[in-house]
């Protein structure tokens, strides 16, 4: 039996996490993500879970990584300033291949910026914010329903690929309340278990090592230093380092066709919007109001790894228009792959693009 609710996006995220089996939350409350921590603090103890408010966000993500190594599904939630603090340990999670979910309800930056206003300014930071080369997965919800569903998906992807997964929400979807249909059960993808006797970081063809189960007698060394397949530090071997880092990137990038989640509307159109997160709603409104205009739409739920192959579906496209609540972070990513003009439609300050603004962008002569 599904259940209808009128929930805030942040509540839906927390409920999605609980439904996915998340039993650990470590973090530090920050607007506009605080309701996620509040809801987890209320609900986790009743499900034999643990909620811990740490001294700051660095410690928050550190506690999540520790919890994950015990086998728990673990998450944290934050916004820009806390996200910046987490970067060191996000790299550690990528290097140690620790499944974890990091929710960033984005607000206007840089610095403390606009605590109560929506933005998408951290899209590049979530891809490249920690030092060194690595890959991650980032999902962008555009509704309260997707705050729930993509949180569930984030946990499954994180366990499947042993990688930090980001739910890159924004204040608009985080704080608005709307109708949500809550399913009675959600899909569950388990971590691949380490085969007894196998070195803990030896990989198969899928490039993902099995996960040693806590309390089952495995002695595993977990380190952020470059390590061999036994997990032992081996930081001066150039070939080993190169192979490890390339694997961390390739295990995600080579699976991007599987990970990618997107929707294509009107693939024959000349003018094509590309959007993710809250601006999706404005594009949908424009398409609904102007069915005669044959507007194309690539609507991304997964932003990282980037599904560049989806761009090729628009065979008649004369230009891509990319409304974002930043100064063109993903527009620039799209430019790398196409020869036609990519029109960035940036918007800062906290308001969503209005339908009239996007309509006006369509009317600008090509």
């Amino acid at each position: 039996m599904t259940q209808i609710e009128f929930w805030q996006g942040n509540t839906a995220c927390a409920e999605g996490a609980l439904a996915a089996g998340c039993r650990f939350f470590g973090g530090y409350p920050i607007t506009p993500s605080t309701e996620i921590a509040e809801h987890m603090a209320l609900k986790l103890p009743k499900k034999n879970g643990v909620f811990i408010q740490m001294e700051d966000e660095i410690a928050g993500i550190a506690s999540v990584i520790g919890a994950s190594w015990t086998g728990a599904r673990a998450m944290t939630a934050t916004s820009g300033p806390g996200f910046s603090l987490m970067m060191e340990n996000i790299g550690y999670a990528a290097m140690t291949e620790t499944p974890c979910v990091i929710v960033n309800v984005q607000r206007g930056g840089p610095s403390t910026g606009q605590p109560t206003m929506g933005a998408q300014g951290d899209m590049m930071q979530c891809r490249f914010g920690s030092h060194g080369d690595y890959s991650v997965i980032a999902l962008c919800p555009a509704s309260v329903q997707e705050m729930y569903e993509l949180t569930v998906k984030a946990f499954n992807l994180s366990d499947e690929y042993r990688v930090p997964v980001f739910l890159m929400a924004d204040e608009i979807v985080g704080h608005m309340r709307e109708k949500i249909v809550v399913p009675d059960s959600v899909p569950y993808v388990s971590r691949k278990e380490l085969v007894r006797g196998m070195p803990p970081f030896r990989v198969d063809i899928d490039l993902i090592p099995g996960f040693p189960q806590f309390g089952k007698g495995y002695g595993v060394h977990v380190t952020g230093l470059t390590h061999d397949e036994r997990g032992y530090p081996c930081a001066t071997n150039p070939k080993l380092h190169e192979a490890l880092v390339k694997r961390l990137v390739n295990k995600i990038e080579s699976a991007r066709h599987t990970i990618a989640n997107y929707e294509i509307l009107n693939p024959d159109a000349n003018q094509v919007f590309i959007a993710y997160g809250a601006p999706v709603r404005t594009v949908q409104q424009v398409m609904h109001d102007h069915p005669d205009k044959n507007i194309g739409f690539l609507r991304l739920r997964t932003v990282w790894p980037f599904a560049e192959f989806a761009l090729k579906e628009f065979k008649n496209a004369k230009r891509f228009l990319v409304p974002e609540l930043n100064l063109g972070q993903i527009a620039r990513e799209i430019e790398r792959y196409v020869d036609i003009p990519v029109i960035s439609l940036p918007k800062l300050g906290g308001d969503l693009h209005t339908p009239a603004e996007l309509l006006a962008a369509l009317e600008v002569p090509q």
């Binding site: 609710e5 009128f6 109560t116 608005m176 109708k179 709603r281 949908q284 409104q285 609904h288």
Partner: protein, 179 residues
């Protein structure tokens, strides 16, 4: 039919709760779609507070209120900040105890704070009086749905008081003049 309802008053009057109750009534009890948004900021305690609800029979795409057709204004500062630009086609319910300005559009005077205090004994339920008046005068959700959503949302032990507040609002709307 899409309706955009904007609530404004001062922090502490239950402006946000009013919008949540209205949205909840539409979604949970009238089988409609609704999106509720609000302005967050340091003004939440005492300053002008604003919240909005979009109600529609079809799924709501663009979630922000652009051009409200219904206003519920409960403070003078709220009027000046969020009500004064109301379009001519709109209808505005004003808490006439607290708002002395009047808009260009059609308006309905509801002495909500006075009635809440004098008749019901608690000025805290003025927002529920306004909700009753809103639904009676616009039918934006059904009265049954509003009542259920109020009972879902208010603290235990205050249900009867809030039901009386809603009925008072309905009664005031019926007796009000529509200049």
């Amino acid at each position: 039919m899409r309706h955009e309802v904007r609530f404004s008053g001062f922090g502490g009057q239950g402006i946000i709760l009013s919008a949540v109750i209205l949205g909840r009534a539409a979604v949970m009890h009238d089988n409609k779609f609704a999106v509720q948004t609000q302005v967050y900021g340091p003004e939440a305690r005492g300053g002008a507070s604003m919240s909005a609800v979009i109600i529609d029979d079809a799924p709501i795409l663009f979630p922000k209120v652009a051009n409200p057709d219904i206003y519920v204004i409960m403070s003078q500062e709220g009027f000046e900040k969020y009500g004064v630009d109301a379009g001519k086609e709109a209808v505005m319910l004003v808490d006439s105890t607290r708002v002395y300005s009047r808009p260009q559009c059609r308006y309905i005077e509801i002495p909500a704070t006075r009635e809440a205090k004098q008749t019901l004994g608690r000025d805290i339920v003025a927002n529920i009086v306004m909700l009753g008046a809103l639904v009676a005068s616009t039918q934006v959700v059904s009265e049954a749905a509003l009542e259920k959503a109020i009972l879902d949302s208010v603290p235990k032990g205050t249900e009867a008081l809030n039901q009386r507040a809603m009925k008072k609002g309905i009664e005031l709307a019926a007796g009000s003049t529509h200049p």
